[in-house]
Symmetry: C2
Subunit: 649 residues, 2 copies
């Protein structure tokens, strides 16, 4: 007979060497403060400020919000040398990329240049990354276009189309600032690396396909982005194909690929590949001007107006009819831009061992997008290609963005009309080469090898983008990621422990096949928080473990008499979870099986004590610090009850 | 100087007594199978079938889907005695409750009787609980009414209003069956106990308030359910108050409360409180007939048609205009009905030590609701009050539902017209007394004491229902619960471990204030899965722990040289999570700090090995089975490097 429940047997507890500290409490206010701080201030930005005098504290806080105050006073001519070089280099990249991505979004090319002028200035003041170079990005440009085009076709109403881009940029800015201010950076955390890999790969694929329009010198094209529509469109308008464009395009492509190859072979020559796009634009422009390309099958960019950004604040459109589209476009592209910008900033900072504050970055991105929407810019962020060039060119501070901005200013004031002759095919080949690097086949293989589910998430994004729309690909992949996260929560893993290393250490029997189980005792390890989502599952699962163990041990002629629950991995428990433990206790108790707990964490101990579970239901003497103590106690109690039985016989 | 990274030092690994099993693998197919089985078949319904011959297996599977085949062949006259008694008792409760709840939903009272005839028969065949008594429930009735009333006011178009109830029941049935068939019972898991407690309490409160209409004998009333509207409506129509109704109502209330009190004092007399509502209906009816109540301020139910349920299949409305309302009503009330029915079934089964299969119950509920919608019934489930009476009356099998059904059949065929004289005030007092028990003040206090956040979730549901609408209360509370679940995932707890009990055991220093930290070593315990949602947070947190420790140890004059990550609580890791560990390694490595891992679980070990993290980045010799081994190895390596330093000096 097993020991009867609630027989007041205080033996086992006494046998244990060390006890669980049942009286530890976190004061309520303190625990709420900690919880809020961990949730919203995981980086604890103001640490170390508390001890300083008020003026220093205010200055510290101001420096936190305006990082330029941190680096500007210590800025030296020595640093400027590096920043000047880096700034000029990225400016040479910003011109072709700005024009290209604006064309990709069906916007007037000049908007791309405008967008490389104002936002970098603001980022230099508010941004916290020393490596990020600000500009427009391909994926977000295409995403914005694909959403806004369904509402307002750019051919029918180019003015309204442009206005909606400004409005979307405004909403993006407001949204990003709000995320930063309310410390909600964790929303970006829901875009997993797998999602971004797949989404970027898919986007790069469809962008490359779309460049067939430019490469073939076509005039008509589908506004849709999916593979099938694009290919159909290309062959439908095959009478528009121009061999002149194609030949020129292939030459440009080869030049660009060569420069890229050069960088791989000789990293010191990175600047060749950095200015190659600019060279292509110049060479292409001169060539098109000389041969009168536009009359001979080589379409050119067309007129670019001289002068700096006009104000666009009066063009923001908040009418009922279009505001939803603008908000949707702003929200989605904003999330995407944040994810890219923050990831780029973080990975570059890591190399230099600097710190990036995600929430501060959001505020900086938000401010530059709001200001951008007032000054004829569309969405900007920190694109990977430009930032990497900035980094390799040896930038020291955000001053390189200022230099780039000044270069663009000069272009806008004096040189813009010269870019009129840039052949579209040059832009297309620049985009194609920029995009090729984003299809990371090696990363796909790595994912497949390491984690099949991550691979699925990645492929859903890729296939969704390539065959459906960008929004579908992105949301299906994020949805799948969130379902997976919730499944982790709803179906936490449990495992049976056996003793390894002579009985002192208890480990998963699946992991350590030589682990031996303890007679009459089932040791279960529970992981993850126990709460309402998984309480029902855990109850069934624990009872099933017990049932399986009973069936197994009946064959061996040994009763199951104790279930030891190892709670070390249980980080928290809620009311439903405690209710579950009570029910498990009742069910097992009816079969004469006792529950012992080992090593509950602070938060869990506190709640189990407060709810009376430990005192009234299982008894304080059945809570142990280690599994070993619990097993010792179980053996001791078993022996006592057996010798009692023998005595009675 | 700390040991240089990657110095190929194989010492520490050799010092450890036991090793982590790095070669354990789960075959992919096997792990997918296990994962799917745990997700959708946590109760493993067909266990034990595999080994039997095909015919027995088919019979076993059929018995699984039709539990009646399990108990019917072994049914005896002895059991029937008990079921007959229980069935008659619950029939006596079903009549007044059926009429009352139909009135609560503004439906013709006879619908309530219809709904107690067909569904119980079906449940007896497909249901797996021996204790559940099927019938309509107050909360879901009011919820349905509150949703459908906003679309079709019952006064304006009673026929369409009724049709939408049938249609909603149909959708409820389809939805419940689908959940059961696709094993999606876990959706119900997202309704936490706290949500249900608050929601039920709030619903009971507004239902009691609504009964003031019946108690005061009023004719006009607001269709809204919130406290403010109800109270305003009561005083607005105060000229309709009838003292006769009120006096009669108070008498009935006292009688019912007395019978309830009696049950508490003498549990054997439970049947008194069980048939009390029926007695009230009979006494009230006779009284109203004798004094011609309807002419003297005591409104009565009115005509009830003799005869069994007419077919309603042709009345289901799937027109574009109303189908959304019906679907919404069906979905929400279906979830609610499932949550109540399954919770009731489970808690009663627990007392008798029986098992309830949630997914099977869903299919049974679904079938009975679909069939119900074809035969003039509205939503039914297993209400708590009726099931508890069934249980106390000693039911043995679902046969008691058949007995109840036959009783209701007899009433429908012969006695229905007699209930015409039932005073509405009698129904109101029955509802009030049934609802009082659902406001669980003691549970609220318990929640407040044990878990403040659970208390908030509960109060949001309560206040939402009482002051706004039932849908708002329910969804706000569920939303808050889900946010909390996601926060658990996004912000997992980490803690610093110190040695207790003489150095062999390592525990949270906040929990065990006497735990001593190890010089030069920081031991961190990570909990919960590491993946994309929390990877960013964990990186920041681990680095911040290290930074704090460095600052702390500088004061003591001791460098931080090792960070030991205890992964015992990490149940899984994804690709982003591994990337995070790589970044943490890089950041720490740059400061000359080494990472050691202890006790990774099977799933985690597998992925860390496959991704090359263990071999290429931290080195196999820095993975240990226990924290103690890791500390020993760190000390050993430290001593070696110190004696080397000394030697060099």
């Amino acid at each position: 007979m097993g020991p009867a429940a609630g027989d007041g047997d205080r033996g086992p507890g006494a046998a244990a060497e060390h006890k669980v500290n049942l009286s530890a409490r976190q004061p309520f206010v303190e625990s709420v403060r900690t919880c809020l701080a961990e949730t919203f201030f995981p980086d604890d930005p103001f640490r170390g400020l508390g001890s300083r005098p008020p003026a220093a504290r205010a200055w510290g806080a101001l420096k936190y919000f305006v990082p330029a105050l941190e680096w500007a006073p210590r800025y030296t001519a020595g640093k400027f040398k590096y920043d000047l070089l880096a700034g000029v280099t990225i400016a040479s990249l910003a011109i072709p990329q700005g024009i290209s991505y604006a064309k990709l979004a069906n916007l007037p090319p000049i908007i791309g240049l405008y967008s490389s002028f104002v936002p970098p200035l603001l980022y230099a003041v508010f941004g916290s990354s020393n490596n990020l170079a600000v500009g427009t990005v391909a994926a977000a440009s295409l995403l914005l276009a694909s959403i806004i085009e369904t509402e307002v076709p750019p051919e029918e109403n180019p003015q309204l189309y442009l206005q909606l881009f400004y409005t979307a940029a405004f909403f993006t800015g407001v949204f990003q600032t709000a995320l930063g201010v309310f410390r909600l950076g964790l929303i970006v955390d829901f875009l997993s690396r797998s999602t971004i890999t797949g989404f970027m790969g898919g986007t790069a694929t469809i962008i490359i396909l779309q460049q067939l329009k430019g490469m073939l010198g076509m005039k008509h094209f589908t506004p849709k982005t999916d593979l099938v529509s694009v290919m159909r469109s290309i062959f439908y308008y095959r009478h528009e194909w121009r061999w002149q464009s194609l030949v020129l395009g292939i030459c440009f492509l080869l030049l660009l690929l060569l420069s890229k190859h050069l960088r791989k072979k000789k990293p010191n020559l990175f600047w060749v590949s950095a200015i190659a796009p600019f060279l292509i634009v110049v060479i292409g422009g001169v060539f098109a001007f000389l041969v009168k390309g536009d009359e001979h099958g080589i379409p050119i960019v067309g007129d670019l107006k001289k002068g700096i950004n006009p104000l666009s604040i009066s063009q923001l459109t908040f009418t009922d009819k279009h505001v939803n589209t603008a908000m949707k476009a702003g929200f989605l592209s904003g999330i995407l831009a944040l994810a890219e910008g923050i990831a780029v900033g973080r990975s570059l900072a890591l190399v230099k061992n600097e710190q990036i504050d995600g929430n501060k970055e959001m505020i900086a991105f938000g401010i530059m997008n709001i200001a951008g929407s007032f000054t004829s810019c569309y969405l900007t962020t920190g694109p990977f290609s430009k930032s990497a060039v900035n980094f390799h060119a040896g930038c020291r501070t955000p001053m390189s963005n200022v230099v780039m901005s000044v270069c663009i200013l000069l272009v806008l004031l004096f040189l813009a009309p010269l870019f009129k002759y840039t052949p579209l095919v040059a832009l297309s080949s620049i985009i194609v080469v920029a995009m090729i690097g984003l299809i990371k086949v090696r990363e796909f293989c790595h994912l497949y090898r390491v984690d099949k589910f991550d691979f699925c998430i990645c492929m859903v994004a890729f296939i969704g983008v390539v065959f459906f729309t960008m929004v579908i690909g992105l949301s299906a992949s994020v949805g799948l990621s969130v379902v997976r996260a919730l499944l982790h929560v709803a179906r936490p893993s449990t495992c049976k422990l056996g003793s390894v290393a002579g009985g002192d250490i208890f480990r998963d029997v699946r992991h350590y096949p030589h682990a031996r189980s303890v007679p009459n005792v089932l040791v279960l390890q529970l992981g993850s928080p126990i709460y309402f989502v998984n309480a029902g599952y855990l109850r069934e699962r624990i009872l099933r473990w017990a049932e399986e163990e009973e069936n197994g041990s009946k064959i061996d002629g040994q009763d199951l008499q104790y279930v030891v629950l190892d709670l070390a991995g249980v980080t928290s428990i809620d009311n439903t979870g405690i209710g579950m433990l009570v029910e498990v206790h009742k069910s097992l108790d009816r079969k004469g099986i006792r529950i012992a707990l080992t090593n509950p964490r602070l938060e869990v101990t506190e709640k189990l004590v407060l709810s009376g579970y430990i005192k009234d239901i299982i008894g304080e003497e059945w809570v142990f610090l280690t599994v070993k103590d619990a097993i010792t106690a179980c053996r001791y109690a078993l022996q006592r009850s057996r010798s009692k039985d023998d005595g009675e016989v």
